[in-house]
Amino acid sequence: MSAVQDLLAPTTEAELAAIIADRRRPLRIIGGGTRVQLPPGDDMMIDRLTTTRLSGVVTYSPGEMTLIARPGTPLPEIEAMLAAEGQALAFEPPDLRGVLGGHGAPTLGGMVAANASGPRRLMAGACRDHLLGVRFVDGRGRVIKNGGRVMKNVTGLDLSKLLAGSYGTLAVLTEIVLKTLPHLPARATLVFADMNRAQAVRLFSTALATPFDVTGAAWRDGTAYLRIEGLEKQLIYRRDRLLALLAAHAPQVLDDAATTALWRGLRDVTNFAGSDAPLWRILAKPTDAPAICTALHALGGATSLDWGGGLIWYAGPGSAAQVRALAPHATLIRRAGLTGPAFPPQTGPLARLQSGLRQTFDPAGLLNPGLMDA
């Protein structure tokens, strides 16, 4: 067996740029290592570059709702700092360690690289919607900035959006600017027992057409959940209006603490943490979700829903071809032995443009080869 490959740990942006500029062989870019499953023996094949020493908060201005930090900063540290000021990352980034078996600390850079967005995406948008600007080193070793630290900015092409969710395959982030929002002080959950998926999605469509700012709409194990959040008085009002509107379903109400615990579990997909089946993250039009789930169940396995039905989690034995035939927007999150592309394969001019973008950012193919199947 060959030795474990090198581990590079630059401490400054300039050092990182120098490493990449001189580089001839590919690099595996790692934050906390909690958001992707690498193939067994990956560390024997390819040198690793960790961002953990590109760490620390540059500026946090609660009155401007902006946070500037380096990619290796541990996410729990950021969340604690924001909480102390009554703020939060509104897109509720999930912690997938339970599902993927990672042991590191999730980092800010990994969160952006995966565009990690939890149940509140439904209302608040995804991580990419809160990303105001970035600095990064591209595959040629160029240090580049894009966007800025203000909430409205249309100066030039928006590369921040492109880098969010690019899994370190285009560039290595060196500085991240995020919008922070007030942490909503009160919350409650309406619980609807004995609901199938079709009933749940109908319920979600009804609730999400109200002006009561539903911030979570998820279903698992035969129960549908609606979360409401807000200032104390807002919460009571919204809860009572929704209870009246949906009285026919006789919902139960969960209090603040129970709501926090429940939605952390839904966010982190704990229902599929124990299983070792392949896990798929499927995006669908919410009203299509029940039929897709029924078809997936015919392959075996189980499903749960988030984002009002727009996100289906499927853990089961279906092959990639079978799953993608039913749901084209399916990404393989936990391989559990399945091979082949993790991301939905692209075709036609879009595939050409995506590969052209990779050429533009990283002409030598140094950064995270294979991670997005390219």
């Binding site: 009155g63 565009n115 995804a126 800025g148 409205k152 590369l159 001019p349």
Partner: protein, 482 residues
């Protein structure tokens, strides 16, 4: 008139009749305009100081027609300038003498309203306001609301990533755009995003939104729609000191209340509004209009919190609206501000953004620059997100005055960058801020953006000579022309 455009391609101009004939061969007769009398209607957008009649104008009705136009122009090497309603304040739709204007105004159908899945699918030439009007009877609305919303199109909104007064709560176009049908420079048609939450791979839609017609032409869009709030109510807060008003903005945001809008008007603007609109605003140095949404009780609760914050800063006045009439009165001055300023003389409207904490300093510096340049300036803008709209007054009939106003404007935009902000918050770069891009971006920052342009538009035919400084883009445009 200090912004130069490169010399038009004389070869293309010479081939004008052939190009028009080729366009007529693939489009209905009424979709091609080439009579100089008629093309003049398209010679400028809302940056009216710059004008140039195009070679021809095409007004397609379908995506297939747009694809045919793009393929043809690509094959014949003809520059294309996409145009929505021509409301760009940055010259984003300014023609060149060798270009075909591709207008989206006849692509105006609503294709699908799906309230269960919370989206509307439209052709891109529909106006912003028409989208919300379509949704009203369903109890929904489309959030981005640029002040030109009566005229401006969704195509233009996507190209410029438009904002509006309410983006403090709801975000800008990119945050409300789910999918787009885009015609590439080759004439190929691609779907970016869709009715499901995306993206699947790289976020192409995120890259496309705000690309100012550099990467392709959008013909259809899937827009996220939101349930209409139960109600909304503004309050007006007057301050004796502009800096204290800035402090109030930061304190409100920090408190956990997220108003849908926080608008700011300074003393010169208030004076103009009082003279021409008689809005009955207090006599003071700064007015904030803060709007909150929700049920009656929710609104009352949020206003009470805002009052507490404002009272700690000794406002000149804190005016609540108790009914729709009083609410309209509070908004009246703000809504008539641009018109009122227009009565004072000609003006140019800027669009820089600064970090909210830098508002007081920036306002003070703008005042100093105003004295240095000898031109008056008024400020009326979206304070909650730091997006400033200084209006510089000048006299268009006085030789040299526009150039002086532009020089002053450039100083303000440089100031925005210097304090950590940017050149444009919602109007776009166009030609107006093109050559200032180097103050915000280093050569490599711009290089990678132009390399992406190379990828999407190898011949640099789409809205070329905009967004990127001419000097920086010269090599790319030159290579493309070879």
């Amino acid at each position: 008139m200090s912004i130069a455009m490169p010399a038009p391609n004389q070869d293309v101009i010479a081939r004008g009749p052939q190009i028009v004939a080729a366009l007529q061969a693939v489009l209905p007769a009424d979709a091609v305009i080439h009579d100089p009398q008629e093309t003049r209607a398209y010679e400028c957008d809302a940056l009216t100081a710059y004008r140039c009649p195009p070679l021809a104008v095409v007004l397609p009705r379908t995506t297939a027609q747009v694809a045919a136009i793009m393929r043809l122009c690509n094959d014949m090497g003809v520059p294309v300038v996409p145009r929505g309603a021509g409301t760009s304040l940055a010259g984003g739709a300014l023609p060149t003498a060798d270009c075909v204007i591709l207008g989206t105004m006849r692509l105006r159908d609503v294709l699908e309203i799906d309230t269960d899945n919370r989206f509307i699918r439209v052709q891109s030439g529909i106006t912003n306001l028409a989208v919300s009007a379509e949704l009203e009877s369903h109890g929904f609305f489309y959030a981005p609301d640029p002040s030109s919303q009566l005229a401006c199109t969704i195509a233009g909104n996507i190209a410029m990533n438009s904002g509006g007064a309410h983006c403090l709560k709801y975000g800008v176009t990119t945050n409300n755009l789910m999918g787009a049908t885009v015609v590439l420079s080759t004439g190929e048609i691609v779907e970016m995003g869709g009715p499901e939450a995306g993206p699947d791979g790289l976020d192409m839609l995120g890259l496309f939104c705000g690309s100012e017609g550099q990467l392709g032409v959008v013909t259809e869009a899937i827009l996220r729609i939101l349930p209409r709030p139960e109600g909304a109510r503004p309050v007006l807060i007057g301050f004796g000191d502009a800096e204290v008003a800035g402090e109030c903005v930061a304190n409100i945001i920090r408190s956990g209340v997220i108003p849908v809008a926080i608008e700011y008007m300074d003393e010169p603007c208030l004076r103009a509004v009082e003279s021409f609109a008689k809005a009955g605003y207090p006599t003071c140095n700064a007015v904030l209009i803060v709007e909150v949404e929700g049920s009656a009780d929710e609104i009352a609760d949020q206003i009470a919190r805002i009052r507490e914050i404002a009272d700690a800063l000794n406002p000149v006045e804190f005016r609540e609206s108790r009914n729709a009439d009083e609410a309209a009165k509070i908004w009246k001055g703000r809504k008539s501000a641009f018109g009122a300023m227009g009565k004072l003389g000609d003006y140019i409207c800027l669009d820089g953004t600064v970090p909210v904490g830098q508002l007081p300093y920036t306002l003070r510096r703008i005042g100093e620059l105003s004295r240095e340049h000898g031109l008056e300036v008024a400020n009326v803008f979206h304070a909650g997100d730091g997006n400033m709209h200084p209006l510089i007054l000048f006299n268009a009939n006085q030789p040299g005055d526009l150039a002086r106003a532009e020089a002053f404007g450039n100083d303000i935009l440089r100031l925005c960058v210097e304090v950590g902000g940017c050149l444009t918050g919602e109007h776009g770069v166009g030609i107006e801020k093109r050559d200032l891009m180097s103050t915000q971006y280093a050569p490599d920052d711009l290089a990678i953006q132009m390399e992406i342009k190379d990828l999407f538009d190898p011949q640099w035919l789409l809205n070329a000579a905009k967004v990127f400084p001419l000097q920086a883009s010269a090599a790319h445009r030159g290579r493309a022309a070879e």
